[in-house]
Amino acid sequence: MDHSHGHQMDPGEAYSTSKLGMWLFLGTEIMLFGGLFAAYAIFRSKYPEMFLEQHRELNREMGAINTCILIFSSMTMAIGVTAIQRGKQKLTSIMLLITILCGFAFAGVKYVEYGAKFSHHIYPDTSIFFSLYFMLTGLHMLHVFIGIAILSTMLVLTMKGKFNQKYSTPVELGGLYWHLVDLIWIYLFPLLYLIG
């Protein structure tokens, strides 16, 4: 990367600094969802019966499938990062592609789920529970799309040969973002679908 200030940063330092910066950003993302989780905690404690009754409308099988899709995609992402750290560009491209396809698969399942809800006349303003449901999964879905965009950029750059064992930072950072998306879903799934 260019440094127009004349002072060249030691690549090792640049690498660890950017990784740290990414973790800092992930922290802000956690706080973002944290606010919604706080809302969930409070409304759940105030209206336990509503949560119990209405969460049954959710299809936990589809939720479980989505969970497996994301965990699998996290694995392919991790393999991809390790691959580029060893300079294996082709393997990285394949892994990135699979991860992106998993992202689309997740979106597809959610599309079906939302469609089913809407056809049953369940909307974000139906109740507090569904407000939270749509907000949480909607915000998460947005992050999935952002993740897909980032990973697609990484895929194109990898195929152009921009990364190798000496320089793989952007792929790693993109990987960290994708893992965060998975992490958030790991908590969303039980909170919305599983506990009564």
């Binding site: 660890s16 990784k19 740290l20 973790w23 800092l24 992930l26 922290g27 802000t28 956690i30 706080m31 944290g34 606010g35 989780f37 706080a38 905690a41 409070i42 404690s45 105030k46 936990r60 479980a64 969970t67 497996c68 965990i71 996290s74 694995m75 992402m77 991790a78 990062v81 990987g175 960290l176 893992h179 998975d182 992490l183 790991i186 908590y187 799934f189 039980p190 909170l191 679908y193 599983l194 506990i195 009564g196």
Partner: protein, 79 residues
Amino acid sequence: MLMILTAITVSVSYVDVGIFNIIVAMSVASVKATLVALFFMHLKFEDRITWAFAIFPLVLLFLLIGMTILDTFTRIFPV
């Protein structure tokens, strides 16, 4: 491993064990999250400062959720 944990959470959700449902679900979710963070996100092999950056938001999160709950449930006047 993660798949096994997912299978556990889902199957337990079909059984009603009262308060334990939420405890089990959250614990399993936390174990999964920790595994993802440690291995997929490479946290196990990172230096101390990265750990600090990763753990600190959790402290803040705990404060956010904890304090809001404390506030809303200790109010004298109905809201």
